[in-house]
Symmetry: C2
Subunit: 205 residues, 2 copies
DNA sequence: ACCTGAACACCGTTCAAGT
DNA sequence: ACCTGAACACCGTTCAAGT
């Protein structure tokens, strides 16, 4: 109902943050009216996020290995958040309690268990870690992409300039630290790193 | 100079966000004057964060193993960010270019290399992952602690209520997912998880 | 040349007053 | 009972006008 209008708003001027006032304008009313339906801005964003989550492919045919499926799922989730930075913040600050979010968690749980994690506790930590990492990646990427070329140049210059003997290792590695592949590659690698860390090694080759 | 005043401000009313206007008020001037010294609010926060980072213990006596030392370093870093949420956001959105931040990165690099990571690329990813995770943890924890008891109750109720057969695994695990220890324990475990994942296993017992 | 008051364009949230 | 205009208490940033 109200979420649909919110989607229209973030679609129309997506680069702006989603705000109560802009949403209210879309609905031809005052911002105050929205507080009948949502507790506050963060909850509004959580609702919108849940709606967006409906787009995720949450099927699992059992052909893909848990690792492979987890990888694809997380990649899709991160991409979704990157495409909607206004809404992504909510995922860091509250546990969205919508149905689609629960669907996502449910699939994560099943995949992790299928992947061989035995203890309930460990499954819970893993879900937490994976979701948190996804959100953090998305927020960082989407913000950094706004960072002007200027900003990057400044940074490299700082590195080049300030290194002499206070930061020998940093100096030696130089700018390799920042140019470690595209964002896509970095996301790829971080997901692999985490999954390898979390899942026990497969018992057969 | 200007950063000191900012510290006073966030010390005095730390629960509020640090803003240009509040800082300007502290300095008995208008907010506009600050733009002579800092590019924007994010950069201001980056400056303050760098100043705070000076408090970190960045020594390494070589007695602690790299793993142990990394663990302590990250714990301290996360705690620092948690204590200053207003400033922590900056760490997610820009690479602070201050000296103390570079000091931190330098130590991280040395510890990771000493821990046995051979390729420069892998060291760079590891630094990225560890810093990003720390920031994300801090933002999540500091925000979540503001979450009223009400919020937690709501969440548990949602879980209890909505589970029947759409989310069987979630239902089975129940509230164990959220009550997996205190924040301190969770931080502890996530750090260990990441370090174990990142560092190669020690060659001797 | 340097600094800044006032203005512009926004926010989230509340609440008294209307229908 | 339901809704909302207007108000309150804030933001970041810019720029013309002052010293």
């Amino acid at each position: 109902v109200i979420v649909d209008a919110a989607l229209t708003v973030i679609e129309r001027d997506g680069k702006h943050d989603l705000s109560m006032r802009r949403l209210a304008a879309e609905l031809d009313t005052g911002a105050a009216s929205l507080y009948v339906y949502v507790r506050n801005t963060t909850h509004l964003k959580a609702l919108v996020l849940d709606r967006l989550l409906a787009q995720l492919d949450l099927s699992w045919d059992g052909i893909d290995s848990p690792h492979t499926r987890l990888h694809r799922l997380l990649t899709e989730y991160i991409d979704l958040l990157i495409d909607h930075p206004a809404v992504a913040q909510a995922a860091l600050y509250i546990w969205p309690d919508g149905q689609h979010y629960l669907d996502l968690v449910e699939l994560l749980l099943n995949l992790l268990i299928a992947g061989g994690i035995s203890s309930n506790e460990r499954v819970a930590w893993a879900v937490d870690l994976l979701l948190q990492h996804s959100t953090a990646c998305a927020l960082e990427w989407s913000q950094r992409s706004n960072m002007s070329q200027q900003g990057i140049t400044d940074l490299l210059e700082t590195l080049q300039h300030a290194d002499p003997d206070r930061h020998p290792t940093l100096h030696t590695l130089g700018s390799d630290i920042f140019t470690g592949g595209t964002n896509d590659e970095r996301r790829e690698r971080s997901i692999n790193m985490l999954l390898t860390a979390i899942l026990p090694p497969p018992s057969d080759g």
